[in-house]
Amino acid sequence: MMNRRWAIVVGVTLLTGPLAGTCPAATAEEAIAEAETAVRARAEAIAAVVALVDNEELFAVNPEQAAHAVELLGRLRAEEAVPILLEHVYFEWPRSMRGPALRDFPCAVALARIGGAAAPALVKLMAGDEDAAWLGTQVLVGIDGAAAAAARLRAAAAEEVHEERRKRLLRAAEFAAGLHPQELDSPGHAAPGTGFPD
């Protein structure tokens, strides 16, 4: 069996050998062209989705579609979308009776997916807005991990001249230090219920 497999490998190599100078070059050109097309398509897709979500009404009238669009921006790692995502960072969907968590805020989740490129603007927002600290800290922990997020916030606090902003960042740093990164795709605990009586 093994001998037969080797015979096939050797045979295929001998047959394709003479084409080695031409085939890979053609494949490389095709691959580059395909990649360029993909890059253009990605940029166009991001521009289209950013234009879609740059609309206050969408979040109020069709929150489900807004949440889907925002999710796509995160999955596309769309750094261009950071400002608009920060603008709607408190957008919560779906609304639930559960205690709030990062996954309930699609824009915050998208920022976490975008990663380090979102961090500087996020830290700036957190310094100026107490409300942003709760969500923003979790996003930073998602990006950096707890220790690095805390270090990032402390470093930002050290450079902050305004006392209230500095304190806000230090509190967020302490909060970050005790958090664990959250699973962005997880629906949360999949705990079996006890069969809650009606």
Partner: protein
């Protein structure tokens, strides 16, 4: 022959095998391994020992499980395995005493220890604060506004208005050092509209908190409040049922909960039935509590269930 007395081996360390000097017989605990064994209350556990004597003599073996229920004594010829249900919460010792077949001469002894877990649940809300050793309490503190507070009960938060409820689970034994999961089911509604009588959301089933609201490590330390605040055998779960929509007239929460603790797949607490009911309205500047149905349990959170209708009737 010389009988080994009871008293000397009793001070031996867990798992230490002792052999009579005049008898080359040794007994050691082979299960649980490692010691102490850690089990939920009610778990069926097999304890094993190994007797070595260089020969193939028979022995009469006695097992004693101190302070773990009425079934504490087992004995038999070459009884090296005992399967029993862990009955009483706490840290327990057990002993294996090996006699020769005359049953008059103790020839070896070994001891081990095991922990049996049970968790006592309680809930706190208005009038109490999140515990300093509760990491999930930091999440609550961070969420509250104007000013940030550890106080539970109805509070303004970044999200809207929420009722902070802290579930505490005190482990027996207090030195329990493995994760205890806090689970919760819910049955409830959000109401809104001008009269607060229109159902906006409903929830039934699993309501287990997101990890940021939980502190399930009974020996964790929380540093947020300054210094080291150790849990010392207590686990926590914070739940903040509430309302976030400011443009919906009278906003009401009516929810009943059932909380319990789990270790692995085993339930290790009684069920704790609790509720949260609140009615608020946004006046353009702040949240105002609507007291119409306070006499029926509105604007309260704690133990017991309430009627889930908007008017609590």
């Amino acid at each position: 022959m010389r009988a080994t007395t009871w008293f000397v081996p009793l001070v031996s360390a867990c798992g230490l095998a002792l052999a009579s000097a005049s008898w080359a017989v040794n007994v050691s605990i082979s299960q649980p391994d490692p010691l102490p064994g850690k089990y939920p209350k009610g778990a069926e556990v097999t304890f094993k020992c190994t007797i070595t004597d260089g020969g193939d003599d028979d022995y009469f073996v006695v097992w004693r499980f101190w302070d773990d229920g009425p079934d504490w004594h087992y004995e038999g010829k070459n009884l090296t395995t005992v399967t029993r249900a862990c009955q009483m919460p706490g840290a327990h010792e057990f002993w294996v005493i090996v006699f020769d077949m005359t049953r008059e001469n103790q020839v070896a002894m070994a001891s081990g220890c095991f922990w049996v877990l049970w968790v006592q649940l309680s809930v706190g809300s208005a009038g109490t604060e999140v515990a300093l050793d509760n990491q999930g309490g930091v999440t609550w503190y961070q969420a509250t506004r104007n000013p940030q507070t550890r106080a539970l009960g109805l509070q303004t938060t970044f999200k809207g208005v929420q009722t902070g409820m802290q579930y505490s689970g005190v482990c027996t034994p207090r030195q329990w050092d493995r994760t205890v999961s806090m689970k919760r089911d819910v049955s409830g509604h959000h109401y809104g509209g001008p009269g607060g009588d229109i159902v906006r959301d409903s929830a039934v089933g699993d309501d287990t908190s997101d990890p940021i609201w939980l502190d399930e490590d009974p020996q964790s330390a929380t540093y947020y409040w300054g210094g080291e605040n150790k849990s010392d055998g207590v686990v926590y779960d914070v739940d903040p049922p509430g309302y976030s929509v400011k443009t919906d007239g009278v906003c009401r929460v009516r929810a009943n909960f059932r909380e319990w603790a789990q270790y692995d797949a085993s339930v290790v607490s009684d069920h704790l039935d609790t509720h949260c009911a609140s009615s608020v309205t946004w006046d353009g500047t702040s949240w105002q509590v609507v007291h119409t149905y306070d006499g029926l349990g509105d604007n309260s959170a704690g133990t017991g269930w309430v009627n889930l209708n908007w008017n609590m009737q």
